[in-house]
């Protein structure tokens, strides 16, 4: 089937299918209110998935998402008393440090990002435990963060606007700039990229930093949305983020994929997830469903060309 060749189309049809099915069962799925709510929820996943996609594009994976997200949320909340700049700055710093750590491991120590980012994840878990002493994190996010996290402008939730701006930036970068070309090149073959004059180390580190910052932003915004940070707030984001990227057509081995696909993947997963919760499917069922969906959708992509 020709449709099966284009991942973005597959996930788009999937999204439409889910919406239609959902709408038949619960007509309010088609309401503007519901759409707005879903997009708002999707935006958080979308920002996280952006970082995930960038790393997957260069052939790595960032498994430090959960606790970098949580740490950024916790730290920015804890420091909210010191003012907006420090609060947001500290949170972003978490992302920067995490990204540098990940990038260092991948680019310089040449340790596979699967295991290294898992270790980084664990370190940030340790940092969170250390800071909070195991208790609920203190502090509430500053007003500005709350505004972005949960506020609206002209009826549109700010976080959606934020995601839109981010999307435009990413689409332009990936498609129209040198940097974007280099990202795809490094993902396809690092050796050839190096011999073609691309500063591969820099790019790898930069991409992991971007991922770390995306994760941090998600954590900060999420704390704004929930009016607090909480332990393990990042855990529910990792698998859906990776799933969104993969379902959206990005190859897990790197070098190919479009951001539009990731966006559609995020929306698809968000809709599916909320449909499942409306149907009151227990967590167990949701996990199974997700796993099956990921397999089903990745099964329909990528036909390997016959090797010469």
């Amino acid at each position: 089937m020709r449709i099966a060749r284009n991942p973005a189309l597959v996930s788009l049809s999937g999204t439409v299918f889910v919406m239609v099915v959902g709408g038949i069962i619960f007509p309010q799925v088609f309401s503007l209110n519901y759409l707005r709510q879903q997009l708002q929820i999707a935006s958080f996943l979308g920002i996280a998935a952006t970082g995930a996609m960038l790393v997957i594009l260069i052939g790595g994976i960032d498994l430090s998402l959960p606790w970098v997200l949580t740490a950024a949320g916790i730290i920015s909340c804890t420091l909210s008393g010191r003012g907006v700049l420090i609060s947001i700055g500290a949170g972003l710093l978490v992302g920067l440090v995490a990204g540098l750590a990940n990038g260092l491991g991948a680019a310089i120590l040449r340790i596979p990002s699967i295991i290294w980012s898992l270790a980084v994840n664990f370190i940030f878990l340790g940092i969170c435990v250390f800071i909070t002493g195991g208790f609920m994190p203190q502090g509430h996010p500053t007003a500005i963060i709350k505004t972005i996290g949960i506020g609206r402008t002209l009826g549109v939730p700010n976080i959606i606007l934020f995601w839109c701006v981010l999307s435009v930036y990413i689409i332009l970068t990936l498609g129209q700039t040198r940097f974007g070309r280099f990202i795809y090149a490094v993902g396809q073959n690092e050796k050839v990229s190096f011999l073609s004059g691309i500063r591969t180390r820099r790019i790898i580190i930069l991409i992991f930093v971007m991922s770390g910052i995306c994760n941090a932003i998600t954590g900060i915004m999420l704390s704004g949305y929930s009016n607090q940070a909480f332990q393990a707030m990042g855990d529910p984001y990792l698998i859906p983020a990776i799933a969104a990227v993969v379902i959206g057509g990005t190859s897990i081995s790197g070098g190919s994929g479009t951001y539009l696909g990731t966006v559609i993947g995020v929306i698809f997963i968000t809709y599916l997830s909320s449909l499942l919760s409306v149907l009151q499917v227990p967590e167990a069922g949701r996990q199974i469903f997700f796993g099956v969906i990921i397999i089903a959708m990745t099964l329909s992509y990528s036909r390997k060309k016959e090797e010469r």
Partner: protein
Amino acid sequence: MPAINAPMRSNWLRYFLRRNYRTIIAFAMLVILFIAYLLVYPGRLSDQFFCAWANQGAGLAFAAVGQTLVVLTSGIDMSIGSVFALTNCIASVFLNGDLYHILIALILILGAGICCGLINGMLISYTRIQPIILTIATGAVYYGIALFIRPVSGGSVSEALSDALTYNIFHIPTSLMLLFGTLILFWVLLKRTKLYIGIYAIGSSEKSAFMSGVKVRQAKVAAYMFSGLFASLGGLFLSLQTLTGDALIGNTYTLNSVAATVIGGTALAGGTGAIFGSVIGSYLLRTLKGLMFFAGIAPMAQPLFEGIVLMCALSIGSIRLLGMKSKIEIFR
């Protein structure tokens, strides 16, 4: 002029070291850490102590062995934690009662592990889906099933069985006997077969392995199947230790099984490594934990410390990069 034959005996050591140096280094580290642990432990160094130490590492060791077989084929099993949790939960429901029921339960537990592994292996061999994303997906499915079986942690496990298998026999912890017993059985049955060397070959160069007549698909399915089997053994053992089932324990076992594998000397790219090394790696991680606990490091700082040490252990392999003569050597 076969002059080379003469010095061969003495060269045996050189080749052995060349092949296994990473595992040997891991073993040395384990010995050092264990001695430190002995020094730091406040209580008496009794049988109880050794038993506890052995038990702590056994569950992870089983998981790590399974993970190693998969990693050797240059794949990865991100679902191993979920299979671990799943079998743990099954045990907490069924591993009770008389001998008959226990046997049935054991069949169920090991069968579940084998099934999960088979599903992983078949999907990876017969579709183009990469192991990492596939096992993340199947991991979610197995986790869901585990949640189904045991939504809240609890349940019970035959205490008689637990007592029998978690203490010691003639001063040797039973857990270690089980662990090494299984490994030796595995070794004896499979070491010289085409399957075993095929697994290494596939991880080293799948294309060359194929050209050399290795049955790539079957070997991969077998590797994942064994992974599931060992994960179920680990989950079984954990249930004997904790006497409960908990669907949430999976996550840490996935991370730690990969870490134990890498620290024990197996390359994530596949092709080189030793299963025994992963056992060493597991005990290394667990000894470290115990060491920190008794060395008086603040409990709230322990995970952080653990993470830092883990990172250091992983970085050791990167020292070889210093001697690198060409910048493109780092690219595979």
